[in-house]
Symmetry: C2
Subunit: 461 residues, 2 copies
């Protein structure tokens, strides 16, 4: 049987995420991003569509490269205002039973001790449906919120991240034994003290000498997501990630990225097939091809090119406000910028892109490709993406929210189900079990397992 | 008309809060503290009982003074395991319309920039029902989770807290003008950039050079709660708090504490009546006095004296495991410890307390007094507390959860309503409006208002 296709919904607790300007569409509910109603409705739609997860992006700063300040970002609401993503999860968990929640948290600005408790709390409240998208940030403006002049250099951030991961793995995996909590009312023993140990972490960046505050949650360590494609990011993903988000303009480009990730994992002894890889993509689907094209044409009337260039400037570090709309976009010096730009341009190495064309592309679905058509046409496309690249599924951005996701759930999912390429029911168990089968806990081959028996060796808390 | 009586429910995201051992009672649902169901049910009970708020305590460490380690705390589940309180709020907000949420967050372990966004997010999602209980911590074990050897000295913590408050006031009150967000689809303007300003804070402990990430929420600054009774704590409360939590063993003691708080506020120019004061108390109510006494006797069968002394040791810094149960409790040297102990003993200066008697007292409702009886008897008592002390209401601890709160909502509240001493409906508007009338925003006489017009004077973000 062909590999099943998996869907994540790519969302953010803000107005304009990957499709700037679409908040102005009459059917779009982005203005309600700060109200629980929107999120409860969205969660119900996604669970109806058997999405594996809702993936919540986040930034802790402003896109202020365009024009040298945050004015354009504010005007176009490109990821500002932006509220905290974690706080959406408990309410959505209360109205769903299976939907997973992959939440972005930037470890540069969260002390590990309290953060570890937050994620354990969410894993308890969701009954094992929480994932963490590990990021180290890319905006200097976020660093200035934390009292620094600029963010830490890229490769140093990954060194700090390694220390951070060791600290939180110890808390999640190594502090409480599985049988620590007995809740024995007769004996008057809630927790057996000898089965809980202090974490003693004395790393280059973080120090902890305390037990974890939460009892073991269904998954202990949340499902680990990562999105780095730089050499340092790739090594980090190979060591830590269970799910990797990538993006690219063509199946050929994506196939090579998938191969690179799986090879990096294999090199350090992990089963390369044990990493699920999702690529960014936006689906515009309608009952017929013609209706889908008309829907896209309608959406494009609300696309916001300056908003798109504001995002691109933040992602690339290039101030697009300084360029003529008809100028050809030249080579970008910095690595992150080159990578973001090539996600658009690399599909056809011979094509030259103007600034205006880049803006038009980014304005609906960001740097990911658009797939437009009837359920049959879109299903054909997605099958080809999966079969030719080795990806496991898609991180679906929205154009109009929640309409884009409702269309996927109600039109595309049934078509994929008819083809036997999409599940017809959720698997039982925790998010990790739904994704990988087996146990709710991280596998023994994962680096976090090294910290699992730590509690047996340390002194009593 | 006599002053209305207000209720807060005193809760915590853990097993044993103020009544250690009662988790073993057959009707107690403490084991479900880590499940959403419990909290949704509780929220509905409290809203039915027209409680002003649910007050969530928190600690980020372990009560490890008793016996010199955390073993007793773990065994008796005295506030360990303990999950994050903020994450309970969104789910409860989704099933209520009026209930307020006063959440304890220790500013020693939360960088102000991300914390300010979290509280703004909650104020948005609750539509203006969030409050913050400002604490600086009292457990060295919490400091060790943050890589320190011990917590910062008491008075220094308040100096750091002053700097922290200035930073978050600037973010909440001074970054976005009220008319910054216009969401004008026609003009393509979500936020008017000129109406948002960067916060430039360069304090002794915290530095921020960034705009607030969230648009103005209904209350901007959450309702501010505080519980300090030391001289430094009293000064802090007088400057910042809108609601103060106190505790004490008798009406006489409470009356003098209320007077001290109101005088401290008046000295710095605040209207002393503008601070709402709640005292800790536990109500055991049943249809008749006899049934209430029987209920208490039944509860006492599950009381846990070692758990109580574990809490007392943490609060006082005195290791009660070293004392004979029949020994008289002597004078405690340190200020916090003396204050905690006097909350029990000061009602009758001539009475001597043994360790056993202290444990027995603390085991149900902590250091607060117990009021037991029929609705009429309890209502008489509570009226006397309010009328003789000048308090505004009670911070009600539970013995059995949620039974204690259900009894209050269903038996005591109707009695107080009949007497005209309790509201019969919630006021409309934000939590601040429900508590104080007037505006959802902090009053112009509050110190935070000094930062309100800051955005007019600073350069564009």
């Amino acid at each position: 049987m062909s590999k099943p296709i998996r869907f994540n919904a790519f969302e953010m607790n803000c107005v304009a995420h990957q499709s700037p300007g679409l908040w102005r569409h009459p059917r779009d509910r982005s203005r309600a991003y700060n109200r629980l109603d929107y999120w409860l409705d969205l969660a119900r739609i996604l669970e109806r569509g058997l999405f594996d997860g809702l993936f919540l992006a986040d930034v802790l700063g402003v896109y202020d490269v365009y024009g040298g300040n945050g004015a354009a970002a504010l005007q176009h609401a490109t990821q500002i205002p932006v509220n905290d993503p974690l706080l959406l999860v408990p309410a959505m968990a209360a109205v769903t039973r299976h939907l997973g929640f992959g939440v972005t948290v930037n470890l540069s600005y969260e002390p590990p001790y309290g953060f570890a408790r937050r994620m354990s709390t969410l894993d308890h409240l969701t009954e094992g449906r929480i994932g963490w998208n590990i990021v180290t940030g890319y905006l200097d403006s976020a660093a200035r919120g934390a009292g620094k002049d600029r963010q830490t250099a890229h490769d140093d951030r990954y060194a700090i991240a390694e220390d951070y991961m060791a600290a939180v793995y110890k808390l999640w995996e190594g502090s409480w034994a599985d049988d620590a909590v007995v809740a024995d009312a007769e004996a008057g023993v809630f927790t057996v003290p000898e089965r809980v140990r202090k974490v003693q972490h004395d790393g280059p960046h973080f120090r902890i000498d305390a037990l974890h505050l939460s009892e073991p949650s269904p998954q202990r360590t949340p499902v680990l997501y990562q999105a780095g494609t730089s050499p340092a990011g790739l090594g980090f993903a190979a060591r830590h990630a269970e799910c990797v988000f990538i993006s690219g303009p063509s199946r050929k480009v994506i196939a090579s990225r998938v191969a690179a990730i799986r090879q990096a994992a294999a090199r350090i002894g992990r089963d390369p097939a044990s990493i699920l890889i999702f690529t960014l993509l936006t689906v515009i689907v309608a009952p017929s091809d013609e209706e889908a094209r008309a829907k896209l044409a309608d959406y494009r009337r609300y696309a916001d090119h300056e908003g798109a260039l504001t995002l691109m400037s933040g992602w690339t570090g290039v101030d697009f406000s300084q360029l003529d709309p008809d100028a050809i976009v030249e080579h970008v010096e910095n690595e992150a910028g080159r990578s973001a730009l090539e996600n658009i341009t690399r599909a056809d190495p011979d094509r030259r892109w103007t600034v205006r064309e880049v803006a038009e592309h980014v304005a609906i679905g960001g740097i990911g490709p658009l797939v437009v058509g009837s359920p049959a046409r879109v299903a054909d496309e997605l099958e080809a993406w999966v079969d030719e690249t080795g990806i496991d599924g898609f991180n679906l951005a929205f154009a109009v929210r929640p309409e884009t996701f409702r269309d996927v759930a109600d039109l595309l999912v049934p078509e994929l189900q008819r083809r036997g390429r999409y599940k017809t029911a959720y698997a039982e168990g925790a998010l990790r079990q739904k994704l990988f089968g087996g146990s709710a806990r991280l596998s023994e081959s994962h680096t976090a397992a090294d910290y699992r028996q730590l509690w047996q060796a340390l002194e009593t808390a």
